[in-house]
Symmetry: D2
Subunit: 146 residues, 4 copies
């Protein structure tokens, strides 16, 4: 994690993987920022992903947090690897209400067999103010492509 910028090919791989996720398309999610060991994602809060009170469902928050962890991990791997989530814990800290959700993931510990990651998800209101709505901690597995 000493490099400060991604190689173009790594960035391209992440963008392609992101674009290939039907869920990210359905959520109108976008990659906000990528750096080695770090990834930020954002998506609008929308009724199609709500829980019973109209807030974003925990699974929508999870989707952004989990993907930020996965792509933070993938940013450290060469083009022979993809990533899978093995396990992930999410704490829901406040109602996910507002205009959009922003997720920031980072690698805590890179490894050949396991990559330990964390992410925080904030809700942004119309004025750009952020509320901390969730924190995630989990294990990403590097998968060697055939």
């Amino acid at each position: 994690m000493t490099e400060q910028t991604l190689t173009p090919s790594t960035r391209q791989r992440i963008e392609q993987s992101f674009a290939a996720q039907g869920l990210m398309q359905s959520m109108s999610a976008r990659l906000e920022n990528l750096a080695p060991g770090h990834c930020s994602l954002a998506a609008p809060v929308q009724p199609a992903f709500s829980q019973q009170h109209g807030f974003a469902h925990a699974a929508a928050t999870f989707a952004l947090g989990d993907n930020a962890c996965g792509y933070a991990a993938l940013s450290l791997l060469d083009d022979q690897h993809d990533v899978l989530t093995s396990e992930m814990k999410i704490h829901l800290l406040a109602p996910a209400q507002g205009v959009e959700l922003v997720s920031r993931g980072e690698v805590i510990r890179p490894g050949r067999r396991l990559i330990i990651t964390r992410a925080d998800v904030h809700a942004r209101d119309a004025e750009g103010r952020e509320t901390h709505v969730a924190t995630l901690l989990g294990t990403i597995i590097p998968m060697r492509l055939k």
Copy 2:
């Protein structure tokens, strides 16, 4: 958890809450079974909720597992309460591929302040065969309605 069937009003509350979740509608999810301390949900595997390889995204699996936990908890509460997920851990055990996902949640330990729950999610193929794709363990909070 000694009762074997839900009261009609408890069943109705759960069905109404489920119907009010935009995400469950978007996923075409349905309540398969309800009993005191237990809840089963199912939803088709579909491209709008896929990850980069076309399998169901971990967040889709999470959505079904988390809701099965939440409604298993709600089934034990009176009509003055709703539920919130405080934290949830998910282990992804196998690719979530097939025709549909089925989630079965149960209450491990009911409590006045916290309800500890678990769920298992299976993928069903066209012949109805099931593969265990995820296990979840987490904390549900009873929320007193005003």
Copy 3:
């Protein structure tokens, strides 16, 4: 996990590993039962491992649950492997009070790179009655010995 009994050499490896753990000795813990994918441990509740109210400390409960998971995993591996805990979640369900703690661990999903495990810990009173005091869910890594 089709075999019903361990080979003598697997049993011996687990017994040796268990005996080599200073903590298990300090806790006067013992192996109660071993089968492929399963391990039960027990230890007396004692003041040297108590929390501020005199119950067993969460870490004592964790020690038994974590080791039951680890040895359940090791029971499925050949003699070229040891195990490490990568991550473990514990829910404390009731005060760990009584005469002894009993932990039962099992493998949920074996794998070449990761082994997913769970354990339940019960407190036994003087009459042998058990109270469920904790449940654990976590990831064990097989480590190839040099």
Copy 4:
């Protein structure tokens, strides 16, 4: 968490609780630092708390991480409350070897019913260099004293 120092009575309550834990005595653990929402603990690495390779057992690391979380939470509560751990996840990041273990816990989200906390545990070698050996994330419950 705007205060910078603890009241003497809060500090005293934490010191008394810590002293009452048989496990902290057995581990020769000490309170290193206390501030509102923060707690640091340390303990020597010793054979009585080792795993099979002579490193500190995951449960010893857990003990320090869990207590740092609990006392970080207790530091925010009045003298009518004690704390309990509801659930805690630990990731073991590196072998816990060295002279001593140092745990630093903090409150992520205070609450009337639940307090969400995290901790990091480092191993210190004879030169005072630290290695990050574990990270924890979990839920503490405030308990009203009778």
